[in-house]
């Protein structure tokens, strides 16, 4: 809502100036009207003055130009003018040499060989309107040489204020001024209306029938005959342009002016175009067609409230008029409409047509039904003032059921309780009175307030409490912290699990990512859960909800690879969404992704890429954070987006807890990734279940030395390490404390279908020093076991 400081002072006695503006902006914010911008408008018309055209002849070298002599008081100038309407004897605005017109500066020049010193201006060139039909002709009473500043000069400050959705009353100058008067301690001044009516009655010229009084509780009509529709005077044009409205003609401008002034939208019809001189307010028929004045066509339904004449619809009630029903230069008889429509009905129209007009914006929020008389009379008297004509007697007022002021009780004790501090009773009464509420004291605790109908947002006690504290001043609210009851924190298991997962993965050197939940449906296809489509997506890149966290990680990996970020070690936790037997399910999920460089080359480090064993190592170390129970690994059985030959499922305590391995290249293609990617995906809920529940005791530290031995085993190329390790464990029992693979050899020496693994075994006892022959015996058993049971050769 734009408020011109120049106009505001007509409704209060307070003047905003450059000294108090900052303070006012601050105080308005505290009162609930945040100022989004402050604009200073100034036009002092330097180097413009009034001129008299004393002579006007055709340009010898150009048909469309005229040579004019223009008297500007001190001298007479020669000016070449291109306007068709220029004529001798006119009084005109003249831009002198040095004046700035739009973006260029007027200079002495020659046009088609003829000297031209200055320019006769059209309205748009003076910034007074968009009109460029011809030069502007001024009243002859202005003397030649009068600075134009005296005619049109203005200076104003325009505040753009945010008005909250509940405050329709503040969308008019009077309503806003009521608040402003309270803020500045001044008096609200409502313009008085004096009406001169003719003997003829409005009710004889127009008939009004409201067929749907629920949707249109009140409809007022007034007729003004023999109006001269013409341009508005400068003050009115300026009033409208200062708040961004375009002047059209005096009648339309007055309806806009009165709407801005009172906050109550009104509409003017050309009575000659109202068929049957009858207004019928009804709901539209199903599939009824309507074209608005801006030429847009709509197909309506039975929820849309229409203003009609005896033949056709003429307006979408409260939103916009129809084509050819408005007031134009040829109009003589004007029908003014000031109505009150039901809020919900206007919203139906706005919803269907998506037309957000100055009018609908006010009706939607709720205006005052009971100021209609004032509004229509104010408009009628202004029309007579600026356009002449006769105001017919009386208003045709269809208002079958008067909307009355409600009364609401306020308990002072309740006010104290909600606010946590005390506002004095008299302060409450006087502040609420000053914004139009009337008080009756019921008892020592209870006040009864009569709520004016321009404040439909106040419907219950809490609304009064809010008004009381708003007027008291939000800046005066004390800051207290007195919570005496301490509540034991409730542990949120899911959140705790997520935090624990995040911490452990960060500790493994992985970085957190957070991706959009909304994704392109094509990325959902590799993942097994049935994705959820968004009915009304923002765009096609966000038409589904992600059905896997791996999906998000792959999107992130793809982007980073394309940006040449070489080392990608990331994880994400968050919700995934899918259909489960027709229901939408959402669960927390988490996964790790590695791709690209593990290390960049340095003087002591070779360049190396992530591989399968990185994801394996991370998975195992991560899972060890959640209890000491043995993990069981099983090759394969992973979802199809894993490479079935290079992926492993992990079981803990007998249940599947996750997968890790290399991703399938077909899946990577969907994400346009051409390099190996390794992922570890685990069951969030399963981890949560393990976390913190796995109690264990430390193992005793042996006092006796360890014995370390290496055994090299010649194996088939397709054989695996675990089979050998298992055999060794079985043979040695608990004297074996560790086993690992320390070297792998392949080469011609052993044949291309073979490989040699060197196992390092560690023996240690908790209760004795192991003797050499004990070790020799164990080694002998190991070797025999491998030879006999696994048919392997020892190197």
């Amino acid at each position: 809502m734009k408020i011109s400081a120049g106009w505001l002072k007509k409704y209060t006695d307070f003047e905003i100036n450059s000294e108090n503006i900052d303070d006012i902006v601050h105080k308005l914010a505290i009162l609930g009207f945040e100022c989004e911008s402050v604009e200073h408008i100034k036009n002092s018309f330097d180097n413009f003055c009034v001129g008299k055209v004393t002579e006007c002849i055709k340009h010898p070298n150009a048909d469309k130009l005229s040579l004019c002599k223009v008297d500007i008081g001190a001298e007479t100038l020669s000016i070449v003018c291109g306007a068709p309407n220029v004529a001798a004897g006119q009084t005109v605005p003249v831009a002198l040499v040095g004046a700035k017109v739009k973006d260029f500066v007027i200079k002495k020049t020659k046009i088609r060989g003829e000297e031209s010193v200055g320019m006769i201006c059209a309205e748009d060139e003076l910034g007074l309107s968009d009109n460029h039909d011809g030069i502007m002709v001024l009243d002859d009473s202005y003397a030649a040489g009068t600075p134009l500043k005296e005619l049109f000069g203005f200076e104003d400050t325009v505040l753009e204020l945010e008005v909250t959705a509940n405050r329709a009353d503040a969308l008019g100058y009077i309503g806003f001024a009521r608040e402003f008067a309270y803020l500045t301690g001044t008096e609200l001044k409502i313009p008085e209306v004096s009406l001169t009516e003719s003997a003829e009655k409005s009710s004889d010229s127009v008939k009004i029938t409201v067929l749907d009084p629920a949707a249109c509780p009140r409809y007022c009509g007034r007729v003004i005959k023999n109006v001269k529709v013409q341009d508005s005077p400068e003050w009115l044009k300026q009033y409208l342009t200062s708040v961004g409205l375009r002047p059209i003609n005096n009648v339309v401008d007055i309806t806009n002016f009165v709407m801005l002034e009172t906050g109550h939208p009104l509409h003017a019809f050309d009575l000659d175009n109202v068929a049957g001189k009858e207004i019928i307010v009804r709901k539209a028929l199903k599939d009824e067609k309507f074209i608005t004045l801006d030429g847009k066509g709509f197909t309506l339904n039975e929820n849309i409230l229409m203003i009609c004449d005896s033949e056709k619809a003429v307006a979408l009630a409260g939103v916009m008029g129809g084509l050819n029903s408005g007031v134009t230069q040829t109009t003589t008889d004007v029908l003014l409409e000031v109505a009150y429509f039901n809020l919900a009905d206007i919203r139906e129209t706005v919803k269907l047509t998506n037309l957000h007009t100055d009018s609908s914006k006010r009706f939607e929020r709720g205006i005052d039904p009971n100021d209609s008389e004032y509004v229509i009379n104010r408009a009628a008297s202004l029309i007579r003032e600026l356009g002449g004509g006769e105001i017919l007697a009386g208003t045709v007022d269809v208002y079958p059921e008067k909307i009355t002021e409600k009364s609401i009780k306020l308990r002072l004790s309740r006010t104290d309780k909600v606010l946590g501090f005390h506002i004095d009773k008299d302060t409450i009464i006087s502040s609420l009175n000053s914004i139009g509420l009337k008080t009756e004291v019921e008892d020592s605790d209870t006040l009864s307030f009569t709520i004016p109908t321009f404040r439909p947002d106040i419907t219950q006690e809490i609304d009064l409490i809010e008004e009381a504290v708003r007027l008291y001043g939000y800046d005066r609210i004390p800051e207290i912290t007195l919570s005496t009851i301490s509540l034991a924190p409730v542990v949120n298991r899911e959140e705790k699990t997520a935090d624990s997962i995040r911490e452990n993965l960060r500790n493994l050197g992985l970085s957190e990512t957070l991706s959009k939940s909304m994704v392109d449906g094509k990325y959902c296809t590799p993942f097994e859960r049935k994705p959820v489509k968004i009915g009304h997506p923002l765009n096609e890149e966000m038409n589904h909800l992600r059905n896997s966290i791996v999906l998000s990680l792959l999107q992130t990996a793809g982007k980073n690879i394309r940006r040449k970020n070489g080392r990608i070690g990331i994880f994400e936790t968050g919700k995934i969404f899918f259909y489960d037997n027709g229901d939408i399910r959402e669960i927390n999920s988490a996964a790790v992704l590695l791709t690209g460089k593990r290390n960049f080359q340095s003087w002591n480090e070779a360049d190396s890429d992530y591989d399968f064993y990185d994801i394996k190592g991370i998975s195992e170390e991560f899972l060890s954070c959640f209890g000491k129970n043995e993990l069981v690994f099983s090759s394969g059985k992973c979802p199809s987006y894993f490479d079935s030959d290079a992926s492993v499922s992990v079981f803990k305590n007998g249940s599947l807890i996750g997968y890790y391995g290399t991703l399938d290249t077909k899946t990577l293609e969907i994400f346009e990734i051409g390099q190996p990617v390794f992922c570890f995906e685990f069951d969030f809920a399963g981890i949560g279940h393990l976390s913190g529940r796995d109690e264990f005791r430390i193992s005793e530290l042996s006092k006796y030395p360890r014995v370390i031995k290496d055994i090299s085993v010649l194996m088939d190329k397709y054989d695996n390490a675990e089979r050998v390790a298992e055999q060794i464990r079985k043979t040695c029992g608990k004297l074996l404390t560790d086993i690992t693979v320390v070297d792998i050899y392949t080469g011609d020496q052993i044949g291309s279908d073979k490989k040699s693994y060197t196992f390092r075994v560690v023996f240690q006892s908790n209760d004795r020093m192991l003797k050499d022959r004990e070790i020799e015996y164990l080694l002998k058993n190991i070797i025999e076991g491998l030879k006999n049971d696994l048919k392997l050769e020892i190197r």
């Binding site: 505290i30 946590g420 207290i480 919570s483 493994l508 990512t513 939940s517 923002l538 982007k559 002591n604």
Partner: protein, 332 residues
Amino acid sequence: MEDFTQIREGILRDIRSSVSLEDAEDKRIKYLSKKGEITLLFGQIKTIAPDKKREFGQFVNSLRDEALDLINEVKAGFSDKNKEPIDTTLPGRKFYRGRYHPLNLIKDELKTIFGQMGFSVATGPEVETEYYIFDALNMPSWHPARKTTDSLYVDKGRLLRTETSSVQIRTMEKGKPPFRIISPGRVYRNEKENATHTAMFTQCEGLYINRGVSFAELKGTLKEFFKALYGKNTQVRFRPHFFPFTEPSAEVDVSCFKCGGAGCSLCKSSGWLELGGCGMVHPKVLENVGVDSEEFTGFAFGLGIERLAMLKYGVNDIRDFTENDLRFLEQF
């Protein structure tokens, strides 16, 4: 000869007392350089009686040898000849630490501060029904948020939550007051994306319902919170606002942590940063979840985590948070 013995012992004691390699070298210069004390003794031979000259010469010679040996011995004690030199200026071996996502950094900080103030974390579904997002929150049927042009509907009646307030409703439905929760989480709007708006962002809403909870306590609580976040001189300003689910309602401004309220580019020279909305829970909302609004009162507030992060780290484009460019993430 007593003099000689004393001189000798004094010098050798001094050399032995060297505390470092450099110190021992200083001692060598002090005694054995061209103008060193022992070297100068050779010059004194002229002043010695002829019969003592020989003895004196022997004494100085042997003192010089002794001192030199001792200095070398002391020096050897300070340096280990087997040590390879270390070029301490070569780059260290690269270690990588896992990085926090900036939104999680802020979220964790909020969880910690509010946790210390007695708030528990509550979570809830992101795909919600209209009841939990609008009806229970006193959102009138005409409210623009209900339109498909403003919210992301999955199907009829189900949509991606526009506020985490739905979590508050679910929490209150399940239990009995008092309640003191925060509900950090993702929310969604049908909004064209640009540098300051995204269709998905992260909110942290709070709720406290109890006997005697007041608007003044809301202001006090938020002030304490922002002091913990931005420092003890932080001020909080309330401006009246309108939300269907709270009354009285306020927008919360916090004194600019960068300029302290004097005005700078961050706060667009106003001295204040708008950081959230809040208010007293509307009696209708309490009644909708079966809480007696006469006995219990409470407050609710909402903060935008992206906005807090953007201000704190100088992020100018909100879309950077979900871009996950590692060059961005590795700065945190």
